[in-house]
Symmetry: C2
Subunit: 337 residues, 2 copies
């Protein structure tokens, strides 16, 4: 590992492997908690939850909790239940998101709502969300409960704000950033911050890991929103142009619209309002995004937030954990290439 803070080159081939290695033992324990606590006397619950939980997710958020604990030189095991709680909250929001978006594909598989129907996805999401709070209560830290209950409320607010902005061409970059900070960065941030809380690493460590998670979450979502226009289904696990067809006002569209000639702006207005959903329209949209540098500038902003994330944890002395987190950040922003 020779990553340095200010050299986030698209030509590097960073990997999640160091993070996976660093957290392997912890994640075994976390996975045990996840599997045992998603059980229920009602068979549909583990069946549906297992489809998503076992279904190819990278477990990025609980890995971040574990890596943050390592960064704080924590040697206990309290973070295992809490990392599982974080994953349950994330899974609950995915189940509800897919209902909200009417999605049919997630991580390269058919979505739960497509297989079991929207009602089951809504209710099993509610179950996982409640179970997450039960896990936190078992741990017993009111500070952790405060961080994660607040994050959950912020996530829901972000999702409603995103719904409100959908098909609204006037959505600007500030509004977009506010939405992704809420719907994505809040949980990344909380997942990282709870580690110094259980490690009793102090206020500075909490603030540093809060900032690390928040900036990484923003970078992560920016890259996701770029990938929606650049990637193939086989690698992203979802269909190219999903956001386009749903009229989601992500940064690539916001930049392309702001920079476009009048004819292009007319195209975007029609597309966002739902009147341009063919494959030809998508191909035209991608051409416009490239011509206006909307994709490359979205990724440039992602790299900015990634740098901020790395600066936030520059003061921690655990070199191995810091190196693994650094390469994970680089991996997050390199996914789009």
């Amino acid at each position: 590992m020779t990553a340095s803070l200010h050299d986030l080159r698209p030509t590097a081939s960073p990997s999640l492997e160091p993070l996976v290695q660093l957290t392997a033992a912890d994640m075994n324990a976390v996975n045990q908690v996840i599997l045992s606590r998603m059980q229920s006397q009602v068979p549909l619950i583990p069946e549906l939850a297992g489809h998503l939980i076992a279904g190819g997710g990278k477990r990025m958020r609980p890995m971040l909790t574990c890596a943050s604990a390592a960064l704080c030189d924590y040697t206990g095991s309290r973070h295992h239940k809490l990392a599982a709680a974080v994953e349950f909250i994330h899974t609950a929001t995915l189940l509800h998101d897919d209902v909200v978006d009417g999605s049919g594909m997630r991580r390269g598989k058919r979505t739960a709502n497509l297989i079991w129907g929207n009602p089951s996805s809504v209710l099993v999401g509610d179950f996982l969300f409640s179970r997450a709070f039960e896990l936190m209560v078992e741990d017993g830290s009111l500070k952790v409960l405060k961080i994660l209950s607040h994050a959950s409320a912020v996530i829901a607010e972000g999702e409603v704000a995103q719904l409100t902005a959908q098909r609204q061409i006037a959505t600007n970059e500030d509004t977009y950033l506010h939405i992704i900070e809420a719907k994505t960065a809040a949980l990344f941030s909380a997942a990282c911050k709870i580690a110094p809380v259980v490690a009793e690493a102090g206020d500075d460590a909490e603030q540093a890991l809060e900032a690390f998670g928040r900036n990484l979450g923003i970078a992560f979502q920016l890259v996701d929103d770029a990938i929606d226009y650049t990637s193939e289904e086989a690698t992203s696990g979802k269909s190219l142009g999903d956001d386009f067809r749903e009229g989601k006002m992500t940064l690539p569209i916001i930049l392309a619209y702001a920079r476009g000639q009048e004819a292009d702006r007319a195209f975007w207005r029609e597309a966002v309002s739902g009147d341009r959903v063919s494959d030809d329209d998508l191909a035209h949209a991608i051409r416009l995004l490239r011509d206006t540098q909307a994709i490359s500038d979205t990724l440039e902003r992602a790299r900015l937030y990634a740098r901020r994330a790395l600066d936030a944890i520059a003061g921690f002395s655990n070199g191995k954990a810091r190196a693994a987190l650094t390469e994970a950040v680089e991996f997050a922003v390199a996914r789009a290439y």
Copy 2:
């Protein structure tokens, strides 16, 4: 008030008024918390939440928290936030229920999902649920958090179990009781039990109020399920026969099916599987329910649970609070007449 424990007569005209009077000052404070804490920077959230929260609900569950606190001679104010949290959890489940059932009417008004769409109802429900946990965390009692996070998980399990039993003619009374204990009685029970916790009234008081709430909740749901076949839209706030058309296996149908002749059983099989949804079919169903005493026996069971609820709180010395709760229980079972 001259109600006695073992005289739950259908001819009495009990009222909620003593409960409303007993809890009026507390409920003013609770309503302040509800109104201030359903706010958000995202305008759709208070708009949608307010539709349901301001929309004619009796606030039965937070009133039960307040009355239970009075029963324990509690003079503090901690229960105000917690009663608001209970109402938020209840409102979140109503929002999600209406999405799950595809309901169009609730409390005599159009449902939120009909006005704002399913996505908004799902997400605002998630917000209220998270906000409920934030309120509990502010109070700071891990015991209360444990009671309500567990109740929330049980509610979700009950809702999934109900979904699984839908259109399944083989559903029996035990399964039905298990479902309503989870989806309805768990929150009644938790709403009552948290009062002796904040009042530090001791284990016996907690167990008594837990049993009171649980039995009242079961009675309440049994009556609700009878009303679905007996009441007019104007009084119940929902349409006659909603459960019938949705193929919900409630106790009236379970009893009528078990007691019916073969021709009647064939009718129920067709009805529950969704092949008998006309007004004539509903009229025929109601005749069969009456002929088999399915409605009156459902209500008789409700009275049994109501008696158990009253027996559970017989040992409390606060006569005014006990009288108000007693009449509220009588009111709950008298609604069907």
